[in-house]
């Protein structure tokens, strides 16, 4: 009968950037000095001048009452991640419509949230912050730190995907495999779990999921009590030290 052609799945090449509306880089900092630990995750605008990083680090240390010897390490960490991002910036990457599942598995203060949803990494208009905000509003999460943490987690996953596609292209070019290789390479190496479009979008499929599968794509939120939080903290600490 009818066949559906995945016509507009043509890749277009753009300069490397975060495939979101705002080109913000996720930064994760984990610094330990003299038994004190500072862990944080936030987004940074790579077009901000570097002088901003120093003032940000100093102000953060002051706000959290950390000793001054935290600052150089924080600085180093942030600058390193930014440099890595910038190293990709000159490259080109393939942007095509590709729907991948993203996962959230976070614990923020005493809220635990697990979720899974589909994200089109070719949609340059996507907004992780808005998604996180909607999620927190719909689930009535009152802790204001949960939203940004979710957004950062999404960005990290998107960043990973984007950088993978860039490095795949780079390799392919280096090995002189010709133009078709990058597509295949990125197809196989990059998201191995990219969505089987035909199953849902084809003429016989339906984009409405079966009810028994709903639980997979539904967010699960747990608000742990204080004692549990302490216990979870301790176990995490131990495991990260040993790792």
């Amino acid at each position: 009968m009818k066949t559906v052609s995945l016509g507009a799945n043509r890749p277009s090449a753009v300069k490397f950037r975060m495939p979101t509306r705002d080109n913000l880089v996720p930064i994760r900092v984990d610094v330990e000095v003299d038994g004190q630990r500072y862990r944080d995750a936030f987004t940074w605008n790579p077009s901000d001048p570097d002088s901003e990083i120093i003032s940000f680090a100093k102000r953060t240390a002051k706000d959290l009452k950390l000793p001054a010897n935290f600052v150089p390490q924080m600085l180093h960490s942030i600058q390193g991640q930014l440099a890595e991002f910038r190293s990709y910036e000159g490259e080109e990457m393939q942007i095509r419509e590709k729907i991948v599942p993203l996962k959230i598995d976070l614990r923020i203060n005493n809220t635990v949230i697990r979720d899974q949803f589909l994200w089109d990494i070719g949609n340059l208009d996507s907004d992780p912050e808005e998604f996180a905000r909607t999620l927190c509003d719909d689930l009535n999460i009152t802790d204001p730190e949960v939203g940004p943490a979710i957004a950062v987690s999404i960005r990290e996953q998107l960043y990973e995907i984007a950088s993978q596609s860039v490095s795949a292209m780079r390799e392919a070019r280096v090995s002189k495999k010709g133009r078709r290789a990058p597509e295949f390479a990125s197809n196989s190496k990059a998201m191995h779990n990219s969505l089987d479009l035909f199953k849902y979008f084809g003429s016989k499929g339906s984009v409405v999921r079966k009810r028994k599968e709903w639980y997979l794509y539904e967010p699960v939120v747990d608000v742990a009590r204080k004692e549990e939080v302490g216990a979870i903290d301790a176990t995490e600490e131990l495991s990260s030290r040993n790792a």
Partner: protein, 554 residues
Amino acid sequence: MSPPAAGAASSGEAPPRELYTIPASSGWFRWDEIHETERRALPEFFGGAGGSGFGTASRNPRIYREYRDYIISKYREDPSRRLTFTEVRKALVGDVTLLRKLFAFLDASGLINFSASPSRPAPQKKPDAEAILEAPVGLQVTPRPPASYFVEERGGGGGENGFRLPPLTSYSDVFGEWAPGRGPICGFCGEECSDGSVQTLKDGFKVCSNCYANDESTGEANKHLGDKKERADNHASSAWSDAETLVLLEGVLKHGDDWDLISQHVRTKNRSECIARLIQLPFGEHMLGTINGKSDSKLHKNQTTERKVDKYIVKESSSQPTETVDGMQIDENKNDTDKSNEERPTKHRRLFSSIDPTVSLMEKLVLLTTSSSPDVVAAAADAAIKALGNENPLARKAFHLSEKEYRTRAFSSICARQGDGIVGGQDAEMLGHSVPGNKKGKMFISTTYQVRAAVATALGVAAARAKMLANQEEREMELLMASIIETQLRKIQYKIKHFEELELIMDQEYATIQQIKASLVNEWLQVLKQAFEAGVPIPRDEVLMQLFQNKPTL
């Protein structure tokens, strides 16, 4: 997946048939079509910025329809609860950003969450179709004062000493204790201001100096008005406690439009108080609108503001009765024309306004006249006055008509004036003033007759309107029946087509099978021949025998 189309935008199909009220602003929506608005708002599904193409495999109109129909059906399963994006996205396959955009579009255009109570605690920007939580400062939406407020009547105004009209008069309703010759009434506390102590607020409202002083100190006009409302309420009966309000809301949700049942439900309040209270609640108008089939209370607010505006106009003009009569009436006419042109009140609304016995006749008349054009009203008034004139020759005098005028019926303007009388009682006043020297007796007659004329007009107008509505209903029913029949026919046609196709395919397959069978048999023949020639012993094959024997009959 999509329910069968029923044509009318105000009903969704689900057995048993339920009526969904949707905001008038989203009346363009159809189940089996994609409207221009949708194409423009979500061009990704339709092939890019132009919005007219067919998109890609994962973004095309069919997919869009599935998403949209699913979300809207999901919302309509329970229209009173707010559908959240997270609930629907777990059941839909696709990019969450795009789904979010689609969801936001449906929300903003009033196709979902239009009658869900706003439940967000944090301040958010709400779509326009939802309840307005408070009146803007400049606008004062005064609720209809409860019944007892009207009870203090002064017999048709100061001009008719010693005569008390039955409580149908509107004059006292409008002016309360005001009468010509007394000072202006303060807009806030309702009392007469002593001369010279009148202040004017910035929106032109006249207040007495006491209230002005109070107002300045509190600094909030609304608050004072709230006090007045409460005082009026207290004056009528006990104030509304929280429990009573809760019971009232329950009653409204359960009984909808039936104020008798609601007042029974709220045992301690009579129906007019219930209505007044509901209006006072922040989203009361919204609920009324929902019940009555219109989720925006434009009509109602228009009514109340119009009444207030009229009060104000009348107050202003009270000092110059004759000159401003015409101007005011012309305003009235314009108001009515505007209203009748811009909205069609539903049946429910009509029912509501006519049942309430505490509303004065004149006000009811006004509500009715707003539903039809002034010409209809004029014609009805015409007929009424003529009939009354036939009844009693005095009536003609009362209407100040010369014989000639009466016959030629060239007085539609006068009739319109009288027919439109929200200030019908004041008509009596004005006419009384403009014809000085009339005896009391004449004025007495003129008033009654005018009242009767007004009543007759009301009846005439109501009858005309009812006939119109009945015709409309009939036509709607026919239309619906026709569409149902058409849908059934189409269904059957599809089935027939489907079966025909199947038959064709079966025929082809049958022919192929025949061919294959024939070729198989031939092959066997060849094999046997060769085996025979080669002298190979052939076991007797029952099946083959049968095949050969059966062959001619196949």
